[in-house]
């Protein structure tokens, strides 16, 4: 990354001049404490939420005090459980908790709301309850825009049928430094799919350093950029990496494989027999696969008025067609996808917001979202899940070659006033990839620092 403005804004002179600072985001490094300071954990509404107690225990297990209300000290996190909030009075109580709390939220602090599905709330509390549940959506998206110094705000919406343990991996992700560039997002958690690991294993602090230990992860497009970072990050978390890229990218692919202690598979994923070759490789060499990351993607930008069939077809084939074919094969009988298998697709903010000159790319990436939603129930039948991440402006070789004005626009037009790093995308994929994340299925999470585009 070469974000000169961000570096300059953090100098003493800039501070004296009153230039707005581009915050330096806290990111996960192995060995660092999960939480950087005390966390306010509270609930508002009804008899108290279903999750506050478990979250408080989690914070204490990870070595930080829990407070019930904002006081004098800096807070690392604020978690308000509104899963039982049904009335406007409950919502007002939440405001009373949150207002002093956000003032005390420190740099790279975490605000996390837990809410109910509006439809579930309607069942138990009528229209007002449904409205209150939906109100959290507007609340969290707005407060995320108000927070400063790299702090983020996100909302976890939990289905009535989901046991408290279902949200553990999401709470852990959103409170940790791993979610540095995930801001203003709403994720829906339902009853977990697949067999959950023993709770003892989940709580083991040593195991937490390597949450993907024992899992085989295949990453397409792993030779460079975001794909290489995904491979590095998943390997750091304990996964065995099968790095896939086109034969022409073999030299860098070998670097990725060797760096991660994994294997390199040179494969053009658009070839007719690609899915077969990939799955055979996974079955023969690894006995199965736990995590499939569809990252490979290309751009062939042109205004639609000048678009050729070649450019259109190439982008759709790599970015969407190959994912469809491999997913079909993963769902077929005898596929090597194991119990608690996870498929994570890389979509794009362009697929949500659109982007001039990218009709082909945006169509493919929006298509990925449609595919994920359509296939979620089918993967669930197999005890597996499928989700997508949609990166916004991420600092890569590709964005480094953008014209300056476009690049600066992309960097600043989000709540964190900077581009994300490839590792931010990778961390979100690692979260979806955990066996404990079975409650997440058919979800699209943006890794965009709450970009204004398409929000």
């Amino acid at each position: 990354m070469n974000d000169v403005l961000a570096s300059l804004s953090n100098t003493g002179i800039a501070k004296q001049l009153g230039v707005p600072r581009v915050p330096v985001l806290r990111r996960h490094r192995p060995g660092d404490p999960l939480l950087a300071g005390p966390v306010l954990v509270a609930s508002a509404g009804g008899a108290g939420g279903r999750f506050a107690k478990a979250v408080a225990a989690f914070v204490e297990e990870n070595g930080q005090p829990v407070v019930g209300a904002a006081g004098e000290e800096r807070l690392h996190g604020v978690v308000v459980d509104l899963s039982e909030a049904r009335t406007l009075a409950d919502l007002a109580a939440a405001q009373q908790l949150l207002t002093p709390a956000v003032r005390k939220l420190g740099p790279s602090g975490r605000l996390l709301l837990i809410g109910a599905e509006p439809a579930d709330a309607f069942e138990s509390g009528g229209a007002e309850a449904a409205a209150v549940a939906q109100a959290l959506d507007g609340l969290v998206r707005s407060v995320a825009k108000e927070l400063r110094a790299g702090a983020t705000a996100n909302l976890v919406v939990v289905a009535a049928g989901a046991p408290p343990v279902a949200i553990d991996s999401s709470v852990r992700f959103f409170l940790s430094a791993r979610s540095a560039y995930v801001d203003g997002q709403v994720v829906h958690v339902a009853a977990p799919i697949g067999v959950l690991p023993e709770p003892a294993e989940v709580d083991d602090p040593l195991a937490e350093e390597r949450p993907l230990a024992g899992r085989v992860a295949v990453v397409t497009g792993a030779a460079r950029g975001i794909g290489a970072s995904i491979a590095d990050t998943l390997a750091r978390d304990g996964a065995t990496i099968v790095a896939v890229d086109v034969p022409a990218a073999g030299q860098r692919l070998a670097d990725t494989a060797n760096r991660t202690g994994g294997t390199a598979l040179q494969l053009d994923i658009t070839a007719a027999d690609a899915a077969d070759r990939l799955l055979t490789h996974l079955a023969d060499r690894h006995g199965g696969v736990d995590l499939v990351v569809h990252n490979a993607g290309i751009t062939r930008d042109k205004l639609l008025a000048n678009m050729t069939a070649d450019r259109w077809d190439a982008v759709l084939a790599v970015n969407l067609g190959a994912q469809l074919a491999i997913n079909d094969a993963l769902l077929a009988g005898g596929s090597p996808l194991r119990e608690a298998g996870r498929v994570v697709c890389v979509s794009s903010q362009s697929g949500i917001a659109g982007n001039r000159g990218q009709t082909n790319y945006a169509a493919s990436k929006a298509g990925v979202i449609g595919m994920v939603r359509a296939l979620a129930p089918r993967f669930a039948e197999r005890g597996a899940t499928i989700n997508a991440v949609a990166p916004g402006f991420i600092e890569t070789d590709m964005t480094a070659t953008m014209p300056l004005a476009t690049r600066e626009g992309g960097r600043r037009i989000n709540s964190l006033r900077q581009g994300g790093l490839p590792v931010d995308v990778a961390e979100a994929i690692g979260w979806f990839g955990r066996a404990e994340s079975g409650g997440l299925n058919g979800q699209i999470v943006r890794v965009c620092g709450q970009s204004m585009l398409g929000a």
């Binding site: 790095a243 034969p247 022409a248 990218a249 073999g250 030299q251 692919l253 070998a254 670097d255 494989a257 060797n258 202690g261 994994g262 294997t263 390199a264 598979l265 040179q266 494969l267 053009d268 070839a271 023969d284 060499r285 690894h286 006995g287």
Partner: protein
């Protein structure tokens, strides 16, 4: 000590694309290429950090600084540095000889796994100091007094600045390999058209193999080269007919730059192991090394039809066979019958043949010699000729004429290619497959071997 021997398995291979001299790899050393090729192999088979039994490789054109070339490549690679290594050199037979060395140790149970192959660069060829200058410099280094040094400096002459440029010629005859091959071609009456036809077939077979993705798991790109740059997919007999002969003289000259292999840079390695080691690592067994044989011919004193000049006569005194009219590159003609006899096989008992195309004429001479009743009786002591080889089974994925021929790398390329071809056929046809390798080498030597793939 193990009671019995076992057959070493060929698990796979890796090579970098071969480049014509002074092109893509002009700036790369033997060590660079061998290390990269080793790392590509490590990545393909997930061997980062593994200790292998042994790595054996070599180069024909070798700098004095590269005295420990293969060990240095291991130390520069991602392999565990506890992996021992040594160099071998047998001219163009180096790669196959290295394979035999490793396979034999595996067969004896001395090691469980190993890597074999070679590297060569004609671009970065060593240039030695003028011998006169070298003698003076050595003495200067040993001189004790300033006066002694001054005397030695006084001995230096301008003519000593001219270095010893490496010659692509046989030390005992002063003739290049091409000139030798041209004489043998003339002697055996090998025509221009049949050489050009064989060349075209080589290019087309190699191009077709690339097209069907055959090399996806045999080759890792290097320095932006993704395919052998000598390959001419559109090669034709008509085009080749336009080339002027470069070896031989007069109207009878048939050997051109098209039907002769060019000087090439590149490296190739194969991974070998016991069946047990392969199974433990969940690695495939493509084929097994069945047996091997080497031979030498007296191309120096042959006189007669070969017509070699006796410039350095006397060097091969004591050779145990009669002086015959043997060509420099005809030694495999003698090795193959011995190998067949020992294994109770006829020349037709093979599903595939890999005959190194040092020059198209060399392949044609070998085939013609085995079909020649008188030659087979007089020189091979056989009642009947060995007979013909089916064109459709020869060098079916291309060979040196199309791919190029970095001397020590050719054996590794051929072993990995043949092993994979045999595996494909064994899988599709459901029966065992057998292949023959024949490589001619400078100095009048031949290295041949049999591979077999179980169904």
């Amino acid at each position: 000590m193990p009671a019995s021997t076992r057959r070493a398995a060929v698990i796979g291979g890796n090579r970098i694309p071969f480049a014509r001299a002074n092109r893509a790899y002009a700036g790369a050393s033997n060590l660079d290429m061998l290390t990269t090729t080793l790392d590509g192999l490590v990545a393909r088979f997930g061997l980062a950090g593994e200790r292998l039994g042994e790595v054996v490789a070599g180069a024909v054109l070798k700098h004095s600084r590269d005295f420990n070339l293969t060990r240095e490549a291991v130390l520069g690679s991602r392999l565990n540095p506890a992996t021992a290594a040594y160099d071998v050199q047998q001219a163009c037979g180096t790669g196959l000889e290295a394979t035999i060395a490793v396979a034999n140790k595996i067969a004896l149970g001395q090691i469980e796994s190993g890597v074999a192959g070679g590297v060569d660069t004609a671009s970065d060829a060593p240039i030695a100091l003028n011998d006169d200058l070298r003698r003076v410099l050595v003495k200067l280094n040993a001189a004790r007094t300033p006066l002694d040094r001054l005397k030695l400096v006084g001995q230096l002459r301008p003519g000593q600045i001219v270095p010893e440029i490496p010659q692509n010629s046989e030390p005992r005859t002063g003739l290049s390999m091409g000139e030798h091959a041209a004489r043998t071609a003339l002697e055996w009456g090998i025509g221009r058209t049949e050489q050009d036809e064989l060349t075209v077939r080589s290019h087309r077979n190699l191009a077709a193999a690339y097209e069907r993705g055959f090399f996806d798991d045999l080759l890792t790109p290097y320095l932006k080269l993704t395919r052998d740059d000598n390959l001419r997919a559109d090669s034709s007999v008509d085009k080749l007919a336009k080339l002027k002969p470069v070896f031989g003289k007069g109207p009878d000259a048939t050997m051109t730059a098209g039907n002769s292999t060019p000087l090439t840079d590149g490296a190739a390695l194969v991974l070998l192991g016991s069946d047990e080691w392969a199974a433990e690592h969940r690695l495939p067994v493509l084929a097994h090394v069945v047996d091997a044989e080497t031979s030498g011919v007296d191309y120096v004193h042959g006189g007669g039809a070969c017509g070699a000049d006796h410039q350095h006569g006397g060097g091969a005194r004591g050779a145990d066979h009669q002086h015959g009219p043997d060509g420099l590159l005809t030694a495999p003609v003698f090795a193959v019958p011995r190998l067949l006899e020992r294994n109770g096989l006829s020349l037709q008992d093979f599903d595939l043949y890999e005959i190194h195309e040092a020059f198209a004429s060399v392949v044609l001479v070998q085939r013609k010699a085995w079909e020649d009743a008188r030659f087979c009786k007089e020189r091979l002591g056989r009642d009947a000729p060995l007979g013909a080889i089916d064109d459709a089974k020869l060098n079916v994925a291309g060979s040196s004429l199309a791919a190029g021929h970095p001397f020590a790398a050719t054996g590794g390329r051929i072993v990995a290619t043949l092993a994979k071809l045999l595996r494909e056929r064994a899988d599709t046809e459901g029966r065992d497959q057998r292949g023959l390798i024949s490589i001619c080498a400078a100095g009048g030597q031949g290295v041949v071997a049999i591979l077999e793939a179980k169904k």
